[in-house]
């Protein structure tokens, strides 16, 4: 499988991997290429670097799908930045059986906090939004740049998390005293009495009241959440979906990548290969090169300080040497991935670019490297 056929034959690409390895730019470069080739593409990103977001004209709030103007594309490129709270609000709206339930959840103090600032909700919301756009069929291809997660598994497990919290039997047990309109703390017997009294002591009564209201409101949402959870899981395992692992050739990043390879396999989620970004790809030292450079340098440095040529040549030699060392070390990590993958998977090494990727032009350059070759 090469990357070009991936862009032609899949409807959903999900870029996963550790932070700081260029996931966002990779996702954007893949999407751009598919758009150039004629598909209508949406790249859904979580938190792109400001400059890239600005140069692409993305809006930070409101989950707005923005069309990116391209001069030479046969298709269309659209981009959207995930607005966590907005996605959560929309979700509540969609799964609520009626307006009363919706308003009760949206107005709950605890809900306001969870949806805004608690870590973990972002992974969940990314899958939620993905479900939304992927099933809408408005795009030929959706490319998702996953959020930086604390643990690699957080993202893959995100769809189930909310459904688990809302396990119906447990909810029922917990909410029984409220259902029966008893005042908290009264008429409770045995274990539950102790537990409830303790929780009230630990959390404070007001908070507990808010929280039970939150649970009560969410209770009616359970079926909706479960259905969506199942739909997202199906989407993840679909043959038209591909997870692309993105990493850098460093020890920690490769560890995370191999972990993803294992987990994706276990979960039967399609994973055609690994993109290794930021590789320092250089050739061996040659004495010829130095000699050629020295002759040339001497001929063009008459107006420069006396030791300039020697200093610069020594510096270039040392820098080149360092790059070679670095690239050897990196190859060891690339080899670790090659040993790890199945025969139907590929490794795509991408050189570290000389300039930061922050606009359409540099995304195109990155794209050229991405589609250059397969190892």
């Amino acid at each position: 499988m090469n990357l070009s056929s991936l862009l032609e034959n899949r409807d959903l690409l999900i870029c996963v991997g550790s932070g700081g390895v260029g996931k966002t730019t990779t996702a954007a470069a893949l999407a751009l290429r598919a758009a150039q080739d004629g598909r209508k593409v949406l790249v859904l990103t979580i938190d792109p670097a400001k400059r890239l977001a600005n140069s692409l004209g993305m809006k930070r709030f409101g989950n707005e799908e923005t069309r990116i103007e391209l001069e030479d594309a046969k298709g269309e490129l659209w981009a959207m930045m995930l607005d966590n709270r907005r996605t959560f609000d929309d979700l509540i709206d969609r799964v609520s059986p009626n307006e009363t339930t919706r308003d009760r959840v949206l107005g709950n103090r605890i809900y306001r906090i969870i949806s805004g600032s608690i870590s973990g909700s972002q992974d969940y919301m990314a899958t939620e939004k993905l479900h939304d756009v992927a099933l809408s069929k408005r795009y030929d291809l959706v490319v998702l740049d996953t959020p930086p997660v604390k643990n690699a598994l957080d993202f893959l497990e995100a769809p189930g998390r909310l459904a688990r919290f809302l396990d119906r039997r447990i909810m029922k047990w917990f909410l029984t005293p409220y259902d029966e309109k008893r005042v908290f703390g009264r008429l409770l017997m045995g274990t539950s009495a102790v537990v409830f009294r303790l929780l009230a002591y630990i959390f404070g009564r007001d908070f507990l009241a808010d929280l039970s209201e939150f649970f009560m409101a969410f209770r009616d949402l359970y079926d909706g959440f479960r259905q969506r959870h199942e739909a997202v899981l199906q989407l993840f395992q679909d043959g038209r979906t591909a997870f692309v692992v993105v990493c850098a050739p460093t020890e920690p990043s490769v560890k995370v990548a191999t972990y993803f390879l294992d987990e994706l396999q276990t979960r039967k989620m399609p994973n055609p290969g690994v993109i290794v970004n930021q590789c320092h790809l250089v050739g061996e030292e040659t004495s010829d090169g130095r000699a050629v450079l020295e002759t040339e340098a001497r001929s063009m440095s008459e107006d420069l300080g006396t030791n300039t040529v020697d200093r610069l040549l020594a510096r270039l030699g040392a820098a080149h040497h360092r790059l070679i060392e670095l690239s050897r070390t990196e190859m060891v990590f690339v080899d670790q991935i090659k040993d790890k993958i199945r025969s139907d998977q590929a490794v795509w090494p991408v050189p570290r670019l000389e300039h930061e990727v922050n606009d359409v032009a540099s995304l195109k350059t990155l794209g050229q490297h991405l589609f250059h070759k397969t190892m």
């Binding site: 550790s18 400059r51 605890i110 090169g289 300039t308 610069l312 930061e356």
Partner: protein
């Protein structure tokens, strides 16, 4: 701010964008501080696969594990932290066991925002009473902000009770003069932007945090002369595509780029954050890790000890 004032901290919070080397820095600083005769612990926060294992050859557990003179490591997992917290808060052991074993309570705690973070922070506060210095390898950027925000949310939500009390203590601890924040950064524009944004967000959550120390990892302090740059430019424009010298010139451009990126990063971090920037040269802590993580930490700690860091006053 010097390396010495980091050593004198009671609580050192280390954060930064993923992949900048914050775990390595935490380990190396911890080792260095332990060598200064201070009892020290390096803390990982609720990690499924602790990176400390690699760096010290021992798996850190919730209970501190000794890895050398004056030096312990641990992994503050939230379940153990919760048990400990309940034991502190609820005097009767039997009730604690009852609570922990109760499925309803487990769901309650899973679903209640901030419980995990609260008990983890509580454990960190407890460790501060047990050691001279606690070095915390915090979660990356946004997750670190969430963690610091939790006790503030607790104050908003809870009018009384032990969570509120503990949250007040944690907030006070964060504001202590012996609490220092270190943000690890790399000389790359995007990462510098994120570092500045991270500090803005942290400051917004907790205004009493002291200005962070920025560790600029893999920095290349400028040493190329103007004449050298001039010559490099001439060679590039004349022979940049020549196969025989392409890699040499590429290495040169790379070097020049790293130098100016380092200078720009230093300038922006010092002026926009008003922060002290500590440079760690790429020789000290490159991500390459030929000798394995353990060796990198050893070398890095030695580099700190030799004061091989170039310190730049803002």
């Amino acid at each position: 701010m010097t390396v010495q004032s980091l050593v004198d901290s009671r609580l050192l919070l280390i954060t930064g964008k993923g992949g900048t080397g914050k775990s390595t820095l935490s380990a190396a600083l911890g080792r260095h501080i332990a060598n200064q005769d201070r009892s020290t612990i390096i803390v990982e926060v609720d990690s499924h696969r602790p990176s400390l294992t690699e760096m010290f050859g021992v798996q850190p557990t919730y209970e501190p594990v000794n890895v050398g003179r004056n030096l312990d490591i641990c992994n503050v997992t939230w379940k153990e932290a919760l048990t400990e917290w309940l034991e502190r808060t609820v005097p009767v052991q039997r009730i604690v066991r009852l609570i922990m074993g109760n499925r309803i309570v487990q769901v309650f705690i899973n679903a209640t925002p901030g419980v995990r973070e609260t008990v983890i922070l509580s454990r960190i506060a407890t460790l501060c009473e047990m050691y001279d210095t606690v070095v915390v390898d915090m979660p990356a950027s946004g997750h670190a902000v969430s963690l610091v925000r939790v006790p503030h949310i607790a104050l908003d939500l809870m009018a009384s009770g032990p969570i509120r009390e503990r949250s007040e203590q944690v907030i006070a601890l964060f504001g202590e003069p012996t609490t220092n924040l270190v943000i690890v950064c790399l000389p790359e524009e995007m990462i510098v932007n994120e570092t500045i944004e991270l500090w803005t967000n942290l400051k917004e959550v907790q205004s009493s945090l002291r200005i962070p120390n920025i560790v600029l990892n893999r920095s290349v302090v400028p040493s190329m002369t103007d004449d050298e740059r001039q010559l490099l430019e001439r060679l590039n424009s004349k022979m940049g595509d020549d196969e025989a010298v392409r890699d040499l010139l590429l290495a040169g451009r790379w070097e020049a780029e790293l130098e100016s990126a380092t200078a720009t990063a230093n300038e922006r971090l010092s002026t926009e954050l008003n922060a002290d920037v500590i440079h760690i040269s790429r020789l000290g802590a490159l991500g390459g890790m030929q000798g394995g993580a353990k060796e990198v930490v050893r070398q890095f700690a030695a580099a700190i000890a030799r004061k091989a860091l170039v310190e730049v006053k803002s």
